[in-house]
């Protein structure tokens, strides 16, 4: 065989093998996409939206704000044209929707995502299929995230429409936008914690009870004693003396909210804001115990840590029934 012919054959072989490897790679990528979409769709449309919990979640997020607005005494609202400077409405949004119901709902949907599949045995089949565990984790995470975004969008839209009907506030779109961004922080935090814990425990109930405990402690129990700690009526504020704000997740959440407000809005007077009761503002001046950006980074970091621990545990763990 001539050297020229030999070289041409070798070139053909190389071209063929590179085509095969390219085809194989494109098959793997398309297969990765198909399977990720399948998990995402199944989680969103079968595990979440087909269950009674879905209707209940809509009910709480939609009817809740309606009921709260019914109890707001419009004659006692201040005369401000800014909704962000009308604390009564923000209390309604914060206390009901985004401090209690929304995190609870997110935890209810996230907690069983991994643990119930392991507990019920369906995960054993999934891990025998050529898909990566990271893919399962991320697809499920995204499905709940999309649902949370939908829930937050609908709920905030209704809150804004009703608020606008009460009084045509000039900053209603900024209010919507800031609250929507804040709801994403809440969503990311509680979903990461719940799904992270869901990978650590086999029983879905335990995976839900831990985030539930955090929500009840941070937003209910601690809020009951917080005014006492903040008060300097009986001497220096215990909250400041013992630097409790370092460990107060509630403070860091509201400080993160404050971080978003500072980017998109500037208060004319801090003394008339809802921020006073969370330790973010005191006597009309921001306390700056933590820089708002630092609180925001802390919240996101905690969420990431839980998510990464959960993911690593899920990748390494034995899937036994």
């Amino acid at each position: 065989m001539s050297a020229h012919k030999f070289l041409r054959e070798e070139e053909n072989k190389t071209a063929k093998s590179s085509k095969i490897s390219k085809d194989d790679k494109s098959f793997k990528n398309s297969s990765l996409f198909t399977s990720s979409i399948a998990i995402f769709k199944k989680t969103l449309f079968k595990d979440i939206t087909l269950r009674k919990r879905f209707l209940l979640s809509l009910l709480f997020m939609l009817i809740g704000p309606f009921l709260l607005f019914l109890f707001i005494d419009q004659s006692r609202l201040n005369k401000s044209n800014s909704i962000l400077e009308t604390p009564e409405i923000l209390y309604a949004v914060f206390f009901f929707s985004f401090s209690l119901v929304f995190p609870l709902l997110i935890s209810v949907f996230s907690a069983p995502l991994i643990s119930s599949e392991i507990y019920e045995g369906t995960m054993q089949t999934l891990v025998s299929i050529p898909i990566r565990r990271t893919q399962i984790f991320i697809s499920k995470f995204l499905a709940v995230f999309v649902y949370g975004v939908f829930l937050s969008f609908i709920s905030l839209s209704i809150i804004c429409i009703i608020s606008y009907l009460i009084r045509p506030f000039q900053d209603i779109f900024i209010f919507f936008f800031i609250n929507f961004l804040y709801s994403l922080i809440i969503l990311f935090f509680f979903e990461s914690i719940s799904i992270g814990i869901s990978c650590l425990y086999d029983k879905p109930r335990i995976a839900f009870l831990i985030p539930l405990g955090i929500i009840l402690f941070v937003f209910i129990a601690f809020m009951v004693i917080k005014p006492l700690l903040l008060s300097d009526y009986y001497g220096p504020s215990k909250y400041e003396t013992y630097q409790i704000y370092h460990f107060d997740l509630n403070y860091h959440f509201i400080n993160s909210f404050f971080f978003l407000i500072e980017i998109f809005y500037s208060f004319s007077d801090y003394s008339n804001t809802f921020l006073n009761m969370f330790g973010v503002v005191k006597n009309g001046v921001p306390t700056n115990y933590w820089h708002p950006l630092a609180s925001f980074v802390l919240i996101i970091s905690i969420a990431f840590i839980f998510m990464i621990i959960g993911l690593l545990r899920f990748i390494k763990r034995d899937i036994n029934r």
Partner: protein
């Protein structure tokens, strides 16, 4: 000199010193203790009593649990890798399904997870559902399926994507006798197209399904060979004869006094005479003559072949006594 090819890619399933240790707070449990499996094409059974380590072995092969020590390969690919998973179809011991999915939705979901496109799996799913008799219930939620239907759906699901090696973990445990019989026939039929690795503790089924078996006990391999060889080997060890005539009581009285017989008795269940000879050749030569002299009718006289169950129990009992 012919060198034995022990490289992992020449076997369907290959394990080397495969070990699984579970650690709890109080103790360390060795579920699988350094087993070497060499599975060639065909149907290979993994036998063992409950807790022997069968499910742990299978879980390591499919990548559901980690390997503590040693290695496992599927056609040369590391067990649990994407390449190995592409080759296998898996039927779990107690198949679990999603409550919100119908039979067809479930199998379609698994097909999508295996990376198949709609046009690739739709026809195949219809074919499988029809073949396994669940086509009529394809739009029914799986939670309303009977045990047999669930098992057939799980088998159909394992077959989607045309796997080359089927791994079955105690596949008949939830089936009634008729269902078991159908299942065994199906496995035999599938074995023409693919290799099958099946675990079970029901020996009669394994005997019907498998070409080769590996017996494990307390995480160790006790024996691995073809069923034929195992039976042959144990039949040589076992020199028990069965004799049946129209007058067994008369025959036993005569034979009891002969020197070439070590032990003789009538088995209650069958009423056959069982003989353990001292001199096998003499027994074979003498029996026809004695029967002729006694003028009784000979119905059966043969060297007893042990069933796989008897061999299995014999091996395990000897092992435990030792």
């Amino acid at each position: 000199m012919i060198q034995e090819d022990n490289s992992s890619d020449s076997f369907e399933i290959w394990t080397n010193n495969l070990t699984k240790v579970y650690r709890t707070e109080e103790r360390r449990i060795i579920a699988v203790d350094g087993i070497d499996i060499r599975m060639e094409k065909g149907v290979h059974g993994l036998l063992g009593p409950n807790g022997a380590g069968k499910t742990s072995t299978i879980n390591m092969l499919i990548g559901a649990i980690s390997i503590t020590k040693g290695e496992a390969r599927i056609r040369g690919y590391k067990a649990g890798s994407m390449e190995a998973k592409r080759l296998i179809g898996f039927l779990p011991q107690d198949p679990a399904f999603y409550r919100a999915l119908t039979g067809k939705e479930y199998i379609s979901y698994i097909a999508q997870l295996k990376g198949l496109k709609k046009h690739e799996y739709q026809e195949k799913i219809d074919e499988l559902l029809l073949k396994y008799g669940i086509k009529h219930a394809e739009n029914r939620l799986v939670k309303y399926y009977s045990g047999g239907m669930k098992q057939r759906l799980a088998l159909a699901t394992a077959l989607i994507g045309d796997p080359q090696i089927l791994i079955l973990d105690e596949p008949t445990s939830n089936l009634d006798p008729m269902g078991r019989d159908e299942f065994i026939k199906e496995i035999r039929s599938l074995s023409k197209k693919m290799s099958i690795f099946v675990s079970s503790h029901v020996l009669s089924e394994i005997e019907q399904m498998c070409d080769r078996i590996t017996i494990i006990d307390f995480g160790n391999i006790v024996l691995t060979d073809s069923i034929e060889s195992i039976k042959k080997m144990h039949s040589q060890e076992n020199n028990r004869y069965v004799l049946d005539t129209n007058s067994n009581d008369t025959v036993i009285k005569v034979l009891d006094k002969r020197d070439f017989i070590d032990n003789i008795w009538i088995e209650d269940k069958t009423n056959y005479i069982k003989i353990i000879p001292k001199d096998e050749d003499l027994l074979q030569k003498s029996i026809p003559k004695i029967i002729g002299d006694l003028d009784v009718q000979l119905r059966k006289f043969f060297r007893e072949e042990l069933s796989l169950q008897e061999i299995f129990l014999d091996i395990l009992n000897k092992r435990r006594e030792a």
